[in-house]
């Protein structure tokens, strides 16, 4: 059943390099994956691992350096301006910072209507219909009607993030990149937004690419999870596979570092050497080797390909593959 579902998004050899004074930074380096319709693919990693850049490259908010992104079979990376504007109706994004991602000079209704006007969904004469639609969307995301004419600065973070979601929904997309949508919110609000996103996914058959640094959140939401380190995918699998049988040493370290909210379960943290660096002027070899406790000679010299170790559980580690 699961396997029969169509793949809505395919990403092939996606790369995004930046020129910095220090050299070439490979923020996203040869990423391959696909998402099935209605699925949530969680992307986890620490700051600077390229997870946000990945999301934005897929939507071409950042121009990818090379590689292809297929959405429902159409190659997004090859689209011209007009086609790209069309496809934006289907592919949307929810941003991390609800304080920064809304134009402070617009009211709630203007913010929600802007995408519809830009995409020409409603004509000038259809003002009333558009207003009706706006209220509908507001209700859908749990924004009270009386807020239509307020400005974002008058609202709290949770409500602002609801506006952000409403904006994404205004175009009735099929696929949404969620770029850390709850990390700026307080715990109690975070849960409200997460539930809302799950409800919307069910009712609108949405597909999510959910980017976060929070492993608990990603486990709660995702059908599959991808772990990134310095621009590359190091492991991918279902939450079950990843949380009960993590294979990559980085995944293991990451999982062991989560403080469990239970005083009876004591953490057995896996020590890592050093700190995360930036992927600048990368040479061949596993990018995690410098910090890995089990690194061997081969890890420092040769790139490690991503291998399916069974049931679509992928891992990129020389040690695992040698076994």
């Amino acid at each position: 059943m699961e396997n029969s579902r169509e793949k809505i998004l395919k990403v092939k050899h996606l790369k995004k390099y930046f020129n910095t004074p220090a050299g070439i930074l490979s923020a996203v380096d040869d990423i391959n994956f696909s998402i099935k319709k209605g699925e949530t693919l969680g992307v986890v990693g620490e700051s600077g691992c390229g997870k946000s850049t990945l999301g934005k490259s897929i939507l071409r908010l950042e121009e990818p350096t090379s590689g292809d992104v297929y959405f429902n079979g159409k190659n997004v990376t090859k689209m011209d301006k007009r086609e790209l504007k069309q496809i934006r109706k289907d592919m949307q994004i929810i941003f991390q910072d609800p304080y920064e991602s809304l134009n402070p000079r617009m009211t709630v209704s203007q913010l929600i209507q802007a995408p519809m006007i830009i995409q020409g969904i409603y004509k000038k004469s259809q003002r009333e219909e558009m207003n009706k639609k706006t209220l509908e969307i507001m209700e859908q995301v749990g924004l009270a009607r009386r807020l239509v004419n307020t400005y974002p600065h008058e609202l709290d973070g949770g409500r602002r993030q609801r506006i952000g979601i409403a904006r994404a929904l205004a175009l009735q997309p099929k696929f949404i990149v969620c770029d850390e949508p709850v990390s700026a919110l307080d715990v109690s609000i975070q849960a409200q937004i997460l539930n809302l996103m799950q409800d919307l996914q069910e009712s609108m058959e949405l597909t999510y690419l959910f980017i976060t640094h929070d492993l608990s959140v990603v486990k709660h939401l995702s059908t599959r999870i991808m772990v990134m380190y310095l621009g590359q995918m190091v492991e991918m699998g279902t939450p079950q596979q990843l949380f009960t049988n993590p294979l990559h040493p980085y995944t293991k370290a990451l999982l062991s570092a989560i403080p469990v909210p239970d005083p009876d379960i004591k953490m057995q943290r896996i020590q890592l050497k050093g700190e995360v660096t930036s992927p600048i002027n990368m040479k061949a070899g596993c990018r995690f080797a410098k910090r890995c406790l089990f690194a061997k000679e081969v890890c420092k010299k040769e790139n490690c390909p991503l291998v399916d170790v069974g049931q679509e559980h992928y891992v990129a580690c020389h040690l695992v593959q040698q076994k």
Binding site: E46, D186, A191, H213, A257, P261
Partner: protein, 327 residues
Amino acid sequence: MAFLEINKINIDYVTEDGVVEAVNDIDLSLKEGESLGLVGETGAGKTTLAKCIMRILPERTARINSGEIFYKGTDLLKLEPEKMREIRGSEIAMIFQDPMTALNPVLTVGEQIAEAVQNHQKVDDAEAMKKAEEMLELVGIPAARSSEYPHQFSGGMRQRVVIAIALACNPKLLIADEPTTALDVTIQAQVLEMIQKLRTQMKSSLILITHDLGLVAQNCESVAVIYAGEIVEYGTVHDIFKDMKHPYTVGLFTSIPKINEDVKRLTPIPGNTPDPVHLPKGCKFCTRCAYATEKCQNEHPELYQSSEGHFVRCFLKGQGGEKYGKQ
């Protein structure tokens, strides 16, 4: 006399929009060597309380209306400024939330640690710098980097420097205000482990301020849950995590997805934190509480003792228990 005892502390901020009641009659006590977790969301008053203990609240806007803070029997709030200065850094030290802004950008990290030493010990510059380098080594930074400036360090490294500053004079009480919130998960774990290791070596007490229940479970012996400037529940880490009483505490737990259990949907706390300029008259949580009665809306609940050392500010959960007060 307790090591640290806070009695009925009440702090306001005077702002343009009105008076913000940041901390409302907080009582707390801490034993020597104990680690206490202060849990709450943004704006709950955690940082205000910490800065009040240090007496570094902004003078012009913050107003301490009432209360006492006894540290080893002396009321810190009544101390001469010079005496208080001597206590800061040597007896009580603080680690701040954002390592990117907590260090002076124009001084080397060595100079900043050495200053902490020289504030409390009569040593010459060379000796202070030697001590600074020792501290750097202690927090895992090579001594050779003491002549570098903060911008040359990563976030995690900067937080280590902040910790080195705080621990330079072996303080007896360490207040850590969200010390790892700005850091990545793996770095977060490293930094907290180090704080714990060093403070146990130095036999210091710890107040850990955080919104992360996981950190509290892993690092604290007792816990105070703060909501809208009030303690709503207080007890040992077992009381709070295994036998939680207050609806807010329960809400916090059901709001977070847990790594070791699966739920289909989270159960969030409805609504928003109340506007601190217009707090509800009765129980401050009544606007978001599923069990709130008319009494909750009109009367303000006291802290009730539900079991030995476990206190709850709730009419429904605390009733029948002993009323909390001066024993």
